[in-house]
Amino acid sequence: MNSARDDILAGIRRGLGRGPVGAETAAELAARVAAHRRNLVPARAAGLDHAARVDLFVAMAEEVQTTVARVASLDNVPGEVARYLAAENLPAELVMAPDPSLDAIRWDQRPLLQIRRGRAEPRDAVSLTPCLAAVAETGTLLLVSGADTPTTLNFLPDTHIVVLRAGQVVASYEDGWDLVRGRQEWPRTVNLITGPSRTGDIEQRIQLGAHGPRRLHVVLVEDAPAAE
């Protein structure tokens, strides 16, 4: 008996009325993939200068219930995190991605903030992560998995706080792909996150916090240098 794989591939070729693709076509198709040329990219964000692009990101993110706090520099991040937790009536306790860019922040300014580094555990209420980029087009954060950035942080806790440097805001998803491709290897998980978790499954009335975070808060750092 043929394997399922052989049968399926033979069925495809039969349907298309040809044999396996010839060497020339295969080379063309491989070149198409290697070039990964962009299709039509909406002008919405692509035509903007950087400041306007950051503004668009903020507007689009807020439209889907992401909250955004703009701070002047990385030194202001601990204060903003503490302020946000207090304002939301949350304990001053969080689990943070073991990421060098976050370690560089002067957390010792806020000794009352209890920080554990690592992946998220079920009891963790608040997580803090970096991101690789943010897509202005739809107010979307782009996060990748890795030893420094466990994916559980993005989904298990009720509240997810993301530190975003203004220089990381790009126009389109395609700009984001190029940043991911620039890494050593394609990561196991790429998360595009656009607002907190939600569902409309009961009577089409939107509820936040279906299974993932109920709150998504972005601390946008204005003066930091561009993405790696």
Partner: protein
């Protein structure tokens, strides 16, 4: 699940008489089309993107073997494994084997229409494994032991009272006097009950919206985050999907993603779009140890090169359901299988046979809204017509219908006779309709007049009026 599409007329009558279903469908009718319209008005390039999306899918289908082989190579290179399945039984067996390899007891599931298509839950249960649906809508219908009635909003046929009833019956460990009066409380309860299941699961099963040949990745799009908790917490992630989901590159996926959410829920972008590539990497603190893809054919490749090939472009966005007057009247369960609405009316006969599902392509007024909103421009009415032709050619339609059609065709091919008969019928009906101008009942037309009046003809046919006009001198026009 065993199809009941052959009972569409009876199923539809049940749906039309169900007041809860009619209330729920009323919410859907007003909600989805409006939100889609608002979303596409904000994106001037939307129409052009539909054309690009169609071209991407057509290109991929024309070279499907190449892209699937490339996809498989890249999945393998990333440490994952592809399991090819010719049919539902092979796909179920592949999933069960993987589950058994780790002696799985609990399996969490993200929403997957392909898993519905292969009736995976029943198979797992029969083999002592507990499948737990985690999408809120899917969880609700799992508790109620019923199939989804919509491909992106599985519990759209229910109101909150039915959900509360299902939760009280299932969550007996909770206070029986608790309030479940609003969607917020129901949503919170589902979150609380399902969280430990996510943590306890041995295997997580998701579907895929797209497969990317370039990177060997699967992409899921959700709003709840359930698909992500399903795939990052257990030891094994199984993607149950079908082979027409493959696209060449991430750039191609980006274009289709721009079409998907806007067409589906009218969102700019869904909350979570997740690209998964292989199992966890050295140094990772979380993520599955194994990554498997069960790649289902189940009749799809047989559509290539034929009059139904365009159906393989389908993104499963549900815009055609949301804009269909028939779906909006009878609901999804009437269609009797996994895929309802216009896309189901074309796909179901292809997957379960026109003998079983011949009614579905007939359940259309051919208004054409489905095609006009389809993000990849699938000619759904045209393909329903092809099914009707096949049904007729295979003598599956009822004898009365066939004789009637044959008689009409015989007359229609004789213009003089046709015009004469039409003229007589017009005059008689026009006279009989009298001053009322409509009929409340008419012999041989009860199928029409039982539920609505039939307008009476004016008395003269267009042809005779036109002929008269042509005879008059030009100046009198």
């Amino acid at each position: 699940m065993k199809p009941t599409s052959h009972s569409f007329p009876a199923n539809a009558r049940i749906g039309l008489a169900d007041p809860i279903l009619q209330t729920a469908l009323g919410l859907a009718r007003s909600g989805f089309p409006l939100r889609r319209q608002q979303a596409i008005e904000r994106l001037p390039e939307f129409e052009e993107l539909r054309e690009v999306g169609r071209a991407i899918k057509d290109h991929t289908l024309a070279h499907l073997d190449f892209y699937l082989e490339l996809y498989e190579r890249n999945v393998t290179a990333a440490g994952g494994q592809v399991h090819w399945a010719r049919n539902a039984a092979e796909a179920r067996a592949a999933v069960l084997d993987i589950c058994r390899s780790v002696d799985a007891k609990i399996v969490t599931k993200g929403k997957s229409m392909v898993a519905e298509e292969i009736a995976l839950n029943d198979h797992l249960e029969a083999n002592g494994i507990t499948p737990v649906e985690t999408d809120l809508g899917e969880y609700i219908i799992q508790l109620r032991h019923e199939p989804p009635s919509h491909i992106i909003a599985p519990a759209i046929h229910l109101m909150k009272e039915q959900v509360a009833e299902a939760f009280r019956a299932a969550h007996t460990e909770l206070d029986p006097d608790r309030s479940l009066n609003d969607p917020r409380a129901l949503c919170d309860e589902a979150r609380t009950v399902l969280r430990p299941r996510f943590l306890a699961a041995d295997v997580g099963i998701t579907g895929a919206n797209f497969l990317v040949a370039e990177t060997g990745s699967s992409i899921i799009v959700t709003n709840e985050g359930n698909g992500d908790l399903t795939q990052i917490l257990p030891r094994i992630h199984i993607v149950v999907t079908s082979l027409e989901k493959v696209v060449p590159t991430l750039e191609d996926a980006a274009t289709l993603l721009r079409l998907l959410a806007r067409s589906a829920t009218g969102q700019e972008f869904s909350s979570y779009t997740t690209i998964s590539t292989g199992p966890r990497r050295p140094g990772d603190h979380d993520g599955p140890e194994q990554y498997h893809v069960v790649l289902l054919d189940n009749g799809r490749t047989a559509l290539l090169g034929g009059e139904f090939q365009d159906m393989l472009r389908c993104l499963r966005c549900a815009a055609c359901l949301n804009h269909c007057p028939v779906y909006a009247a009878v609901g999804g369960h009437a269609y009797g299988w996994v895929y309802p609405g216009p896309m189901g009316a074309v796909l179901t006969p292809a997957l379960v046979g026109v003998e079983e599902a011949g009614h579905l392509p007939n359940a259309s007024s051919f208004c054409g809204r489905c095609e006009s909103v389809c993000p990849v421009k699938i000619p759904l009415p045209k393909m329903m017509r092809h099914w009707r032709e096949r049904e007729f050619a295979r003598r599956l339609s009822p004898p009365v219908y066939r004789s009637g059609l044959r008689l009409w065709a015989w007359v229609a091919q004789r213009p003089a006779l046709y015009h004469a008969l039409a003229d007589i019928a017009g005059r008689v009906l026009g006279w009989a309709g009298g001053h009322r101008g409509r009929f409340r009942s008419l012999p041989f037309a009860q199928g029409w007049t039982a539920v609505r009046d039939l307008p009476a003809p004016e008395g003269r046919s267009f042809h005779s009026l036109w002929a008269e006009r042509q005879r008059k001198p030009r100046g009198h026009r």
